[in-house]
């Protein structure tokens, strides 16, 4: 437990010391929120779908968490290159602990970024339909963040250099994001897109956040959470597996 705690704390300390970097990573989702939110708001309203600003907030929160968490594994590449990883690998702690300590740190950072974006949205007039349901939103943030950090850890364990890591994560992050219903409703899109969106695990996280923040759901909360927890178990499991197999 002590080892887990210190490995988590290490990530948090490094995050706090990164200063400007932590501010910058909310800029991109913020631009999406403001530009698209205000840009499409009147069209969305004319189509009878209500406020697009309300609609897009769960999507951009998911986006912030997706981007922060999926690139988190870059830290593992740095730890490999700057040698710190070896310090943990020769210590009397299991690979599972090493993986979990880092991943919990990465997920904490992801959730913090998500909350920061949520607070900014509040300042711009976003209002959740029910504050009790917001507890569910927080749970979504945690599960989504852990899933993506788990995946990212696996890539970090398998790949040895930054270009390789960026190639894999960049290849995935854009389709995951755009084909998840984070920016548009899933009910009136072409069949092929609908199929893709329904096999994209991010769709369920976005849907669950939308359900808990603005009371709109495409798949239903039970389906959402079932898929999300299964994805998390699978991806964290993959992270642990690759850490155990990794050779120094």
């Amino acid at each position: 437990m002590e080892a887990l705690y210190i490995l988590w704390l290490r990530q948090i300390k490094k995050y706090r010391r990164s200063g400007l970097r932590m501010m910058l990573s909310v800029i991109q989702p913020l631009v999406y929120f403001l530009a698209l939110g205000y840009g499409f708001n009147s069209i969305f309203q004319k189509a009878g779908r209500g406020s697009y600003i309300q609609f897009i907030v769960p999507g951009v929160i998911a986006q912030t968490i997706l981007f922060t968490s999926i690139f988190w594994g870059a830290n593992i590449i740095f730890d490999k290159q700057f040698g710190f990883l070896k310090e943990t690998l020769v210590a009397p702690v299991s690979r599972t602990t090493i993986m979990f300590g880092g991943a919990l740190g990465g997920a904490t950072i992801g959730v913090i970024q998500g909350i920061v974006l949520f607070l900014i949205a509040l300042a711009f007039g976003f209002h959740p339909y029910n504050w009790v349901a917001f507890g569910g939103t927080l749970l979504c943030m945690i599960v989504l963040s852990l899933s993506m950090v788990g995946f990212s850890s696996a890539v970090g364990a398998l790949v040895n250099d930054m270009p390789g890591f960026m190639a894999v994560t960049n290849f995935l992050v854009v389709p995951l994001f755009f084909l998840s219903g984070s920016m548009f409703p899933l009910d009136n899109i072409p069949g092929v897109m609908k199929v893709i969106a329904s096999i994209n695990p991010l769709s369920y996280a976005v849907d669950a956040m939308r359900a808990t923040l603005i009371n709109q759901s495409h798949f239903g909360l039970v389906t959402d959470f079932t898929v999300m927890f299964l994805t998390m178990a699978l991806l964290m499991g993959l992270g642990v597996y690759t850490f155990r197999k990794m050779e120094a």
Binding site: E2, A3, R10, K80, G83, A91, P92, D161
Partner: protein, 267 residues
């Protein structure tokens, strides 16, 4: 004398190459043991196997009677290691690096604090304990790594080319600490180096590895006599030849090399 390191018929094979080919040797408790060999001879692979970073393909490695493959975590408490490349976290302070180590090794808080202070004073970094490690010079980092490697009172200290890239003053200082630790605490030291004069001066016994096999072992005196040469460097060249070796770096090693070069140019 008691054996503290025992390497029995150990081999490490990768797909095409055999990095270590059936080596056996022992190190006695309280000994300073020099492990020498050209680049790519199998030194680092052997250290990695002894320190649980790599599994041997065949053979057995024991540290104080503990099997490093089957009782990994028990074995890990027995040794401290200073790697060839830095393995500190540059974004943490010197003290935080030690704190992290103490918690990974489940050391008692109060005792770890005392020990950290004592060690930081020993390596003359106490006044810099709250500085970020990324602001340290190569020599300071190496000293901090030694302090960290000693924090959990290991019985064996592994040093993989501890003086590489350091100036003569720092090298001298380091060997003085190491000699002191060995004498005062009876700590067993296992080191590799390319500076043969250093090995000759400090090692009680030496083994030379080449092409994955132990080609010679004994005291520096014995190696000189065996080869009929006047110093260890000549004995070493006699045993391993004068041809230059091409070392194949693992991808992460070569990447580190490149990064280090870029960082050095920037400074």
């Amino acid at each position: 004398m008691e054996e503290i390191i025992s390497v029995q018929e150990v081999s490490k094979k990768y797909k095409e190459v055999t990095a270590v080919d059936g080596i056996s040797f022992n190190v006695q408790k309280g000994e300073i043991f020099g492990f020498l060999g050209p680049n790519g001879a199998g030194k680092s692979t052997t250290i990695k196997m002894l320190t649980t970073l790599l599994h041997p393909t065949t053979g057995r490695l024991l540290l104080n009677g503990v099997d490093v493959v089957h009782e990994q975590n028990k074995a890990r408490r027995i040794f401290g290691i200073v790697f060839q490349d830095p393995s500190l976290d540059g974004d943490l302070t010197a003290y935080e690096n030690l704190e992290l180590h103490a918690m990974l090794y489940h050391l008692d808080r109060t005792r770890a604090r005392e020990r950290s202070e004592e060690l930081l004073k020993l390596v003359e970094l106490w006044d810099r304990k709250d500085s970020m490690v990324k602001t340290f010079s190569g020599g300071m980092k190496r000293r901090l790594e030694i302090a960290r490697g000693l924090l959990h009172h290991p019985q064996i200290l592994f040093l993989d080319e501890p003086t590489l890239g350091l100036d003569a003053q720092t090298r001298n200082l380091l060997w003085n600490y190491i000699g002191k630790l060995n004498k005062e605490e009876g700590m067993t030291i296992f080191f590799t180096t390319h500076y043969l004069a250093e090995a000759e001066a400090i090692a009680h016994r030496i083994a030379i590895i080449d092409h994955g096999k132990i080609v010679a072992r004994g005291t520096a005196e014995e190696l000189r006599q065996q080869t009929g040469t006047e110093n260890l460097e000549k004995a070493y060249l006699e045993l391993t030849g004068t041809g230059v070796r091409d070392e194949t770096l693992s991808s992460s090693d070569s990447k580190r090399e490149r990064i280090r070069r870029v960082m050095n140019n920037r400074n």
